[in-house]
């Protein structure tokens, strides 16, 4: 429901209450020396007024969203003096329950400065809950979440310490972009000049005077990023910031994050998309069902994934038996050729040459990050198409 229609419905409801009150008043013939025609005028004026307000405020004035402004070049961000000592996010044995549902279960990890840390997990894994606890919005059931060694609630002007973006669509539709950002900036003593700078940085200066209801999802994401960067904080917490950005915007955003990490900031970016994180993050924290699954460098995660060797040869059958004899596992590929595991490409090539077998193609294949991620999180996915989860079945059986 639009906020405008909410106001209008409320006004109508309240007008009705007023009328009821008037009628009770009339029927009880209390002290008022008011002739009936005056009451009639009061009632007649009141009821249509609610309707008029509804027509004014409740009318759908949504214009088609303007196309996204062209993303600005990823200007090298201004270096900032990083306070002495490692500013980092530290989550320690964090548990958060909502009734019987455990959203975060004994989760511990640390985020270090100077790199982009990807916070990955399937939908419902507890990423947003963890971020909300770090930001002091939700109270943890047990455990702690500290930023720079302090609880978030202890910060006097927190935007100077931590910039955050939780939900880019959580903006008031009736307010202009500029007013929205200005209210956030004022609460932390940030001036107009810096406000203009972040609008410029995110490419929103041309649309800042428009109402947020007219913003597209991509523009709202940029606005959220602008709000996170308002005070130029050393720590950034971003929940699914790339949602709704176009490919160019995603690239701009990725470069922005990496540039800011290079300045020594601590950056935690959540996502449920491995492919996006693989290109952005230097380090990965992967959770599923509220538990920590992996806390590794992206490179290590990549090299840890399964790999095999694809070899194509006109004498494939002969080569296959040779390879099997030397201890490799060989499987035929769909496109013609052999998938070899347990032996690296050099050894396969050497073996082929030593037996005079021509090789047309010889490639080492890494399993995709996506696959590794799916393997890792597969057991912990909350919602998956087609197959009921074992936990769900046991829950049903228990009932």
């Amino acid at each position: 429901m639009r906020p405008g229609s909410g106001v209008a419905i409320a006004v109508v409801a309240v007008a009705l209450a007023f009328v009821v009150y008037c009628l009770i008043d009339l029927s009880r013939a209390r002290v008022r020396n008011l002739p009936a025609w005056a009451w009639a005028v009061i009632i007649c004026i009141t009821i249509p007024w609610g309707g008029i307000i509804y027509l004014i405020l409740g009318k759908d004035r949504t214009k088609p969203a303007a196309p996204d402004p062209p993303p600005p070049p990823a200007a090298p961000h201004v270096p900032r003096r990083i306070p002495a000592g490692p500013v980092q996010i530290e989550v320690d044995r964090l548990t958060k329950r909502f009734g019987h549902v455990t959203a975060v279960d004994d989760l511990s990890f640390a985020v270090r400065p100077g790199r982009v840390t990807g916070f990955l997990g399937p939908n419902g894994a507890g990423k947003s809950t963890t971020l909300r606890v770090i930001l002091g919005l939700d109270a943890p059931t047990s455990g702690t979440a500290l930023v720079g060694g302090r609880r978030y609630q202890e910060f006097i002007r927190p935007l100077h310490e931590v910039g955050s973006l939780l939900d880019a669509t959580a903006v008031p539709a009736g307010r202009a972009g500029w007013s929205h950002l200005r209210a956030i900036a004022q609460s932390n003593g940030i001036g107009r000049r810096r406000l203009r700078e972040v609008l410029e940085l995110t490419g929103l200066e041309m649309v800042a005077s428009r109402r947020l209801g007219e913003f597209s999802l991509g523009m709202k994401q940029r606005l959220g990023i602008a709000a996170a960067l308002l005070a130029n904080p050393p720590v950034l917490l971003l929940d699914e910031p790339a949602n709704g950005l176009d490919p160019e915007g995603i690239r701009w955003f990725r470069q922005l994050l990496q540039a800011m990490a290079a300045e020594g900031r601590t950056i935690l970016v959540s996502s449920h998309l491995m492919s996006e994180m693989a290109q952005t993050a230097d380090h990965l924290v992967i959770i599923g069902r509220g538990r920590l699954l992996a806390d590794v460098a992206t490179e290590q995660f990549v090299s840890g994934t399964s790999h095999d060797v694809l070899v194509q040869s006109p004498r494939a059958g002969e080569l296959a038996s040779l390879l099997t004899a030397s201890g490799a596992v060989v499987a035929p590929e769909n496109g013609g050729g052999l998938a070899v595991t347990g032996m690296d490409a050099a050894a396969v090539g050497d073996l082929a040459v030593s037996h005079g077998i021509a090789v047309h193609q010889l490639v080492t294949r890494h399993g995709s990050l996506e696959e590794a991620y799916l393997t890792l999180t597969g057991a912990s996915t909350d919602y998956r198409a087609g197959r009921p989860l074992p936990e769900v079945q046991t829950a049903r059986a228990a009932r």
Partner: protein
């Protein structure tokens, strides 16, 4: 462009004084309240309708065949605020409820509490800004309604001046009543979070409790009714308070107690709840 940006971010190191912090949050909440176009429209429309209704009421009194000589003399003071109390209070209360519930509805409340983690500070700032806006609106309209009514009544019954006993108190109190109702709305919105429920509760406190009390048998209607906002307000703005109501000073306490209770409940609930 490096130097200015660094300077803009340079305030991080300094810890601002509590006074500066309070001013920051107040400024932020004022920006939120004043930058919503629907707020301005609704308040403006409500003000105009209040004045029109006041004129209608005054004219009907002036034109009544027996004037004030019938059962009771016309209360020329309370007449000024009939439309004010029975009409203007409603839209103002609703707008005040929306101060919190609209933020909960859109999810903006998370941004607000992330920017200012001390939730009671946010509550205090919202209450102060909304209350002040309602007080200013209320006082301006109370004076306007008073003078408008007295101007219309002056022909037949003779209008009052502010120097009349109780007149100045009544006019000032009428504006205060509006602020009290607005603060009840802010508190209800913060506690209940949902627009519909919060409006229902706020309207109950601001209006319907008094209506319910009227239905009670004779001694009890005023005995209980004097603790409700509308009766306390009536005791403030009438020149001839009916016996059974509190004195203006005790009624002022009632007018303070309701918003205080609403805001205290909100202060307790806000800090104990996940956002």
């Amino acid at each position: 462009m490096t130097a200015p940006q660094l300077q803009a971010a340079g305030t991080a190191g300094t810890t601002p004084s509590p006074l500066v912090r309070a001013r920051d949050v107040l400024a932020s909440e004022w920006t939120k309240l004043s930058s919503l176009r629907s707020n301005r429209w609704t308040l403006g429309a409500a003000a105009i309708v209040t004045l029109v209704l006041t004129a209608v009421v005054a004219a009907s009194f002036a034109a009544a065949p027996h004037g004030g000589q019938r059962a009771a003399p016309v209360d020329r003071l309370a007449t000024s605020f009939l439309a004010f109390a029975e009409y203007l209070v409603l839209p103002v209360t609703v707008l005040s409820v929306l101060v919190f519930t609209s933020e909960y509805g859109s999810g903006l409340i998370r941004t607000t509490f992330t920017a200012v983690p001390r939730r009671r500070t946010v509550l205090a700032a919202k209450a102060a800004v909304t209350g002040a806006a309602a007080l200013v609106t209320g006082e301006v309209l109370a004076f306007a309604c008073f003078f408008l009514t007295q101007a219309i009544l002056s022909g037949r019954h003779g209008g009052l001046s502010l120097a009349h006993p109780g007149a100045a108190r009544g006019v000032l109190a009428a504006g205060f009543v509006l602020a009290a109702c607005a603060l009840v709305g802010v508190g209800a919105g913060a506690v209940l979070r949902h627009t519909a429920g919060a409006i229902a509760v706020a309207v109950t406190v601001v209006y319907l409790l008094a209506v319910l009390c009227l239905v009670l048998p004779a001694p009890w209607n005023l005995r209980l009714g004097r603790f409700t906002l509308p009766f306390a307000a009536y005791a403030e703005v009438t020149a001839h308070p009916p016996t059974g109501l509190f004195s203006p000073w005790l009624s002022l306490l009632v007018l303070i107690a309701w918003p205080a209770a609403a805001l205290l409940t909100a202060a307790v609930v806000l800090t104990r709840r996940d956002v």
